[in-house]
């Protein structure tokens, strides 16, 4: 009896704090967060903790602990490379959503998009975001290239990263172009017809390449399946590999170029 009086019931706040403590002391928690992670030790602003935020988290794969002071100025990179990457992520997320409602066959494709827009919750919005995001990504990759050029940022030691950049630009265009066919409406069909006809003019292999890409001499259901696979798996897979090399080289080449 006396004991109860001496120790009044803990308040909700105290109990929460206790649960938090127990959680942070548990083996599960400590197996998830590495030693030194701010989720283990808590964060108070100090130079050492600022380093730990990067060093003891997955972010260390993307960023060094410190970067040149001028490199964080928005006026230098205009965020364009980062935004290209971010748009790619947004496109992946919205694209996965679209995949749940789409079948790449001549008989179903257009109807699936129509149904998506009219009877799926947020279907129209997500399709819009995917389409406008794709155009925006082409634009931002273009502008990123222009900014790199005007800063002379392709000069040694960054020559090869520029070459990887050209590959990324090509892949971005290919991703956008293969996606263009998928709604299977008049716009898609004829834009891709015009686009692939240009390919037929290449000497020697032009027509063979075209045949393989279209799965025949003319666009049809086979083309739709091929381009779908290219669009949702193959090109994203390849572009991720080249992006990884691109980002790695940015760091290995000494971080962002400049200042001018």
């Amino acid at each position: 009896m006396a004991k109860v009086l001496d120790n009044p019931r803990p308040t909700a706040k105290e109990r929460l704090a206790k649960i938090g403590e127990q959680m942070q002391g548990s083996q599960a928690w400590n197996s998830i967060f590495r030693p030194g992670s701010i989720f283990r030790k808590g964060y108070t602003d100090s130079p050492r903790n600022r380093s730990y935020v990067i060093m003891n988290s997955v972010l260390y794969h993307l960023h060094p602990v410190k970067v040149k002071r001028h490199a964080v100025k928005v006026s230098y990179t205009l965020c364009l490379g980062g935004l290209s990457f971010f748009l790619f992520i947004l496109l992946t997320v919205t694209g996965i959503f679209l995949m749940f409602f789409y079948r790449p066959t001549g008989a179903n494709a257009w109807q699936d998009i129509q149904t998506l827009q009219t009877s799926v919750t947020f279907g129209l919005l997500v399709r819009n975001m995917h389409r406008w995001g794709a155009h925006l990504m082409v634009l931002s990759v273009f502008l990123h290239m222009a900014r790199v050029f005007y800063h002379g940022a392709y000069k040694p030691p960054r020559e090869f990263n520029w070459v990887i950049g050209v590959i990324l630009l090509t892949l971005t265009l290919l991703l956008s172009f293969t996606g263009y066919l998928l709604p299977w409406d008049q716009l898609a069909l004829w834009a891709v017809t015009v686009g692939t006809n240009m390919m037929g003019y290449s000497p020697l292999v032009g027509n063979q390449v075209r045949f393989v890409l279209l799965g025949g001499v003319e666009i049809g259901s086979e083309t739709l399946l091929r381009w779908y696979v290219l669009h949702v798996i193959m090109f994203p897979f390849i572009i991720i590999i080249f992006m990884a090399i691109h980002f790695w080289r940015v760091r290995k080449d000494g971080g962002i170029s400049g200042p001018l």
């Binding site: 970067v67 040149k68 947004l90 129509q114 000069k155 172009f177 008049q186």
Partner: protein, 233 residues
């Protein structure tokens, strides 16, 4: 030779004096530096090794003081600084990635998402009639980023417009860093390259704009304010 700063010399001197003094005092206090049991263990080990050496077959004069197993070689390497670690010539002015860079990236990502969200809320993506092989729309246009090419096709033989010119453009783009031998990144030193690129980009932009907005039925020239716009994204 590099100069050793004054304060470091002083510190080293002080440490040396302290060590000498400490030794004298420490020896009386029973050799506090290395615990006795460790010294004993070392002694036993070297005795054992000596025994091994001693009992080794008379292969001929293993030198006294050889290591365990009779090894006599020593490894001594001088690693020059700079051979495995890069000596930074001048310190670079740096800031922490967190919060300086991450905060900027976060805001940029948020602004981008917000823009895309609002734009997609307001403007719908086109969905025309279902694909029909028997109905060719007039005009038929490629996606906007290929309209420069399509425009070139109206001017040159398909082989040149569709293959040679874009191929040369792409190769020039890839080779740009290897062709541009000028090492400076100062805009005032790069007037030639920047004007070349600007001309190239303007040329391309004009072609794309003509292809997008100034081409109507039959891909014939039109004025958008007179005949309307024949362009879909």
């Amino acid at each position: 030779m590099t100069e050793i700063p004054e304060h470091l010399l002083k510190r080293a001197q002080a440490a040396r004096e302290k060590a000498a003094g400490g030794d004298a005092g420490g020896a009386q206090a029973g050799g506090d530096r290395i615990p006795d049991q460790l010294l004993d263990r070392t002694k036993a080990a070297s005795d054992g090794a000596a025994a091994v050496v001693a009992s080794a077959p008379a292969g001929g004069g293993v030198p006294v003081g050889a290591g365990p197993g009779g090894h006599t070689q020593r490894l001594l390497t001088v690693v020059k600084s700079g051979s495995i670690q890069e000596a930074k010539a001048a310190p670079v002015d740096k800031v922490h990635t967190w919060p300086h860079l991450l905060a900027v990236e976060f805001v940029a990502a948020l602004a981008c998402t917000a823009f895309l969200f609002v734009f997609s809320w307001v403007v719908n993506a086109p969905l025309l009639q279902a694909a029909d092989f028997n109905k060719t729309p007039n005009p038929s246009k490629a996606p906007w980023y290929f309209l420069g090419l399509q425009e070139l096709l109206t001017m040159f033989h398909p082989m040149i417009a569709g293959v040679t010119l874009p191929g040369m453009g792409l190769i020039a783009l890839i080779l740009a860093p290897y062709l541009d031998r000028n090492a400076s990144n100062k805009p005032e030193d790069r007037k030639f390259m920047t004007s070349m690129m600007t001309m190239f980009l303007m040329f391309w932009a004009v072609l794309t704009i003509i292809g997008s907005f100034f081409r109507g039925p039959g891909f014939n020239f039109t004025f958008p304010w007179r005949d309307g716009i024949f362009f879909e994204l």
